[in-house]
Structure formats: structure tokens, C-alpha cells
């Protein structure tokens, strides 16, 4: 166990054309004494769509939060070959400082359960904020980019509305456009349909479907919608108690789960539907 914390075990970079876009190596996340994720190993290939399912408290949302928002207590996370959670200092990996984390996370976009649009900006303003303030695009260039994306998510007519005047489904579509405006290599979708009324879930899943089919974007999606996950994922990971209990192609995992806990979870979800 001890040598898992020896950082010299981990490569400074992941090389080669087959290297994963996202790689978790023995990643541990604790909140105080509570271990949420224990020794997670997960590789996501470029252009792959991975769905993460599991009961609440299984650590599935934490997987995304470690990539975008939080620090880890053990292991190393790589994004596009370069360490994210750590940085190189004198030929060795050391825990990343906040500047390195922020720079690394520029390659990642995230959408949230509660959208988290900026209420004091219009839909268009939300989508221009990152490109102008962080990427340094001109207002004109950022506006064109934002309008293209709002067009793609079907929200171009509402570009001048504030979030308070948009429905949940509309807000989430703007939030997806806002994340994409940063041109991320990886998109994280954290229960993006969980807070939505049933009748508007479809408009958000349609947008995600479009993303998967038209763009070679690497997507990691935490979801409770098994049917949707089965439909569009390349791979599904079932999390239980801070570990990946079972993973596989959706056809296998959903129709022929091997582990008892996966079977229990899927039958519980099915009977709830």
C-alpha cells in the first residue's frame, strides 16, 4: 500500500498515440476520515463516451469533481498525457499548485445538475464570458463562437434572455453551450438531467446525443437515466462504495450484469421506473 503513494512510480507523462485522454491511477479521495474513492483506476479514450452510474454515495459524482473542482489525496490524474493533479519539478512529480490545476482544467468543461448559469448575464453573455475573460478572444470572435453554439443547442432565439427567464431545460442547454465555448477536450456532465422536469429532459438528451454523434468529444457523464446511458455510451461504469464494481459495453452491462450488486442496483432502478 505504501508504495502507491511513492510518486516516482508514476510516469511524468503518458506518451504514445494510444494514450488515454483521461487517466486515473490509484486515485484516492478523502473528506477528513471518510474515504469516498479508494484506489480508482480508470482510463477514458479520446472520443469515448463513458457513463458513470451507481447508487448515491457511491462516489460517482466525486469522479467528475476531482477532475474539475477538487484535490486528491492519493494517486495521479492525467489529462491528454500530462499530469493534472501533479506537476513536474526537477524531474519528479509533486502535487500541483492552484495555477497548474487551473491551467490543466482549461482543457475540461463541466455542466452541473443545477446549471449554475451566471444570473446577471444573458444566455449569450454566459457563453462569451470564458472565451473573452480566460482565452482572451475578442468580443466579436467570442460572440460568433457563442452564437454558433447557441444555434447548435437550439437556444439562439433566447440569446438575450437572462437565466431567470429560461426553463430548466433551456438553462441546461445554454450551460452546455457555455462549457463548449471553451473548446474543451473533455466534457463532464454531472447529472445534467436530474433537476429537470420530465417533459424537458428530452431536449437536453437530444443535445448530448448530437454532441456524441457529430463531434469527437471525450465525455464523462454521471447519470440516473439508464435508458439514455445505454443508448449513447461506449462504456458504462457501475460504481459501488468508492470503487468500480463492474464496467463494460452498455449492451453487456445492462442486459447481462455479472456482479450481484450490479444486478441488485439495476433491478431496483428498473422497478422504480
Amino acid at each position: 500500500m505504501k508504495d502507491l503513494h511513492d510518486l516516482s512510480r508514476y510516469p511524468l507523462r503518458l506518451e504514445g498515440p494510444d494514450r488515454p485522454m483521461v487517466s486515473f491511477r490509484n486515485v484516492t479521495k478523502r473528506y477528513g476520515d471518510l474515504v469516498v474513492l479508494d484506489g480508482l483506476n480508470l482510463d477514458v479514450a479520446e472520443g469515448e463516451m463513458v457513463s458513470i452510474i451507481g447508487p448515491s454515495g457511491s462516489g460517482k459524482t466525486t469522479v467528475l469533481r476531482m477532475l474539475m473542482l477538487e484535490r486528491i489525496q492519493g494517486g495521479v490524474i492525467y489529462v491528454d498525457g500530462a499530469p493534472l493533479s501533479h506537476m513536474e519539478r526537477g524531474g519528479k512529480l509533486v502535487p500541483a499548485n492552484s495555477r497548474h490545476l487551473r491551467a490543466g482544467r482549461e482543457q475540461i468543461g463541466m455542466c452541473f445538475q443545477h446549471f449554475n448559469l451566471f444570473p446577471h448575464m444573458t444566455a449569450l453573455g454566459n457563453c462569451m464570458e470564458g472565451p473573452v475573460q480566460v482565452l482572451g478572444l475578442s468580443k466579436q470572435a467570442a460572440r460568433e463562437r457563442a452564437e454558433d453554439l447557441l444555434e447548435m443547442v437550439g437556444m439562439i432565439d433566447k440569446r438575450d434572455e437572462h437565466p431567470a427567464r429560461l426553463s430548466g431545460g433551456q438553462q441546461q442547454r445554454v450551460a452546455i453551450a457555455r462549457a463548449l465555448a471553451m473548446r474543451p477536450k473533455v466534457l463532464l456532465l454531472d447529472e445534467v438531467t436530474s433537476a429537470l422536469d420530465p417533459e424537458v429532459i428530452g431536449e437536453v438528451t437530444e443535445v448530448i446525443r448530437k454532441l456524441v454523434q457529430k463531434y469527437r468529444l471525450t465525455i464523462m457523464m454521471v447519470t440516473h437515466q439508464m435508458g439514455f446511458a445505454a443508448d449513447i455510451s461506449d462504456r458504462v461504469c457501475f460504481f459501488y462504495d468508492g470503487r468500480i464494481e463492474e464496467e463494460g459495453a452498455p449492451a453487456d452491462l445492462f442486459s447481462n450484469p455479472q456482479k450481484e450488486r450490479t444486478q441488485q442496483f439495476l433491478s431496483a432502478v428498473k422497478s422504480a421506473d
Binding site: 474539475m68 473542482l69 487551473r102 491551467a103 482544467r105 482549461e106 475540461i108 468543461g109 463541466m110 452541473f112 443545477h114 449554475n116 448559469l117 451566471f118 444570473p119 446577471h120 444573458t122 464570458e129 470564458g130 475573460q133 480566460v134 434572455e161 437572462h162 437565466p163 431567470a164 427567464r165 457555455r178 462549457a179 471553451m182
Partner: protein, 221 residues
């Protein structure tokens, strides 16, 4: 002497006093807002070297009497070589005192912005300064406007103390008129009404208007 005669004879002086009170109010408010913003932000800093001066400042200016602070600034600071004119000493004391209260409003307003907003700003890789300035502060401002309305009325009433260092404000004029005429009820009664009208007819409507404008800008109205 009827009240109308009193107003005819002493009204102009009371008006002059009110204008001086207004000048004190505007200068002290501007200073209080500036101090509140700086001290409130400093108090939220993760670095203790930045945080502690703000905490000390807020403790001292909130924890001691405004009148004593005013006397310190006007009578004691000159002993250390810092001499302020009475007008300046007046609004500086009031502004620094109310600014300490305002700092807590700024801190509370910032902390009332939902965590999801910080996360969304961070997820766009915005720098800490841009997160605060472009995302958090505009929303915090809307949240803290109602308590600021209260604080500015407190501040207006606090300016009456500057009469004690002979700034010729409304309270000073009322006292002078009382001293020479012994028409206490008329002098202090009129002052009371003028203070009330200042707060009720100017400060409060202005803050309500500001709240409406800000609410509209954030899309809530």
C-alpha cells in the same frame, strides 16, 4: 413667536445646516462603501496576513463609540502630527465607523452567493480576481443592497455627532438657535423632522430604486 415666524427667521440657517449634513452624508457614505469593500474582501482572504488587519480594523471601529473615535481623529491625531480640518475629521470618523459595519455586510453578501456560482466560474478557469469581480461581486451586491439601505440611514443619523467638533451641520445649527432663543421645541423639533425627511424622502427611495435597477440587471424582475 409663531412657528411660521420661527421658520422665517431661522429656516435659512437650518437649510444651510441640512446642506452641510448632506455633504457629510455623501462624503462619509463614499468612504464607508470603499472601506467596506476593501475590508470585507480582505476578511475573506485565505492569507492570514491579509485577513488579520481587516479583523482588527472591524473590531476596533465596531467595538468602540463613534463619538470617541471622532474625538480621537479630531483632538488626538494632531498630537501625532496628523491634523485634519473639522469637516474632514467629521466625515472620516463617520465613514470609518460605518465602513466597519459595512465590511460585515460585504462579507455576508459574498458568502450568500451560492457555491455553484464559484464552481461554474472556476470550471471556466477564471482567475480568482476575475471570479470575484465579474461573477461573485455583482451578485453579492444585489443581495446586500437592502441591509445597506439600513446602514446608510444609520450613517445619516451618525453624522449629527460631527456638530460636537463644530461642523456647522443641521444639529449644530439647531443647538445654536436653541442657545440664543431658548425655542427648544421649535429648534430640535424642526431638526428631527428634517432628519426624518432626509432619510425617508431621499435615502430610502434612492436605495429602493437602486434595488429595482439591480434586480432588473440580474434578470429577477
Amino acid at each position: 413667536m409663531s412657528y411660521l415666524e420661527f421658520l422665517r427667521d431661522y429656516g435659512p440657517r437650518l437649510i444651510d445646516g441640512t446642506l452641510m449634513t448632506a455633504a457629510q452624508f455623501v462624503c462619509a457614505s463614499a468612504l464607508a462603501i470603499l472601506i467596506a469593500l476593501v475590508a470585507g474582501l480582505m476578511k475573506l482572504a485565505p492569507n492570514a496576513l491579509i485577513r488579520i488587519p481587516a479583523v482588527v480594523y472591524i473590531e476596533i471601529f465596531r467595538g468602540t463609540s463613534l463619538l470617541v473615535q471622532l474625538y480621537w481623529i479630531f483632538f488626538v491625531l494632531p498630537l501625532f502630527g496628523i491634523t485634519l480640518e473639522k469637516f474632514t475629521a467629521g466625515f472620516v470618523a463617520v465613514g470609518m465607523n460605518l465602513g466597519a459595519y459595512g465590511a460585515e455586510l460585504v462579507r455576508g453578501g459574498i458568502q450568500s452567493v451560492p457555491r455553484g456560482q464559484w464552481e461554474a466560474a472556476y470550471a471556466l478557469s477564471m482567475s480568482p480576481a476575475k471570479r470575484m469581480w465579474r461573477i461573485i461581486l455583482p451578485q453579492a451586491l444585489v443581495n446586500m443592497l437592502p441591509p445597506w439601505g439600513n446602514l446608510l440611514i444609520e450613517l445619516l443619523k451618525g453624522t449629527a455627532l460631527v456638530s460636537l467638533i463644530s461642523v456647522a451641520d443641521l444639529m449644530f445649527e439647531a443647538k445654536q438657535i436653541n442657545g440664543s432663543t431658548f425655542l427648544s421645541a421649535q429648534a430640535f423639533g424642526t431638526a428631527l423632522i428634517l432628519y426624518y425627511l432626509f432619510a425617508r424622502a431621499l435615502v430610502t427611495p434612492f436605495m429602493r430604486w437602486l434595488e429595482r435597477v439591480m434586480a432588473r440587471r440580474i434578470g429577477r424582475a
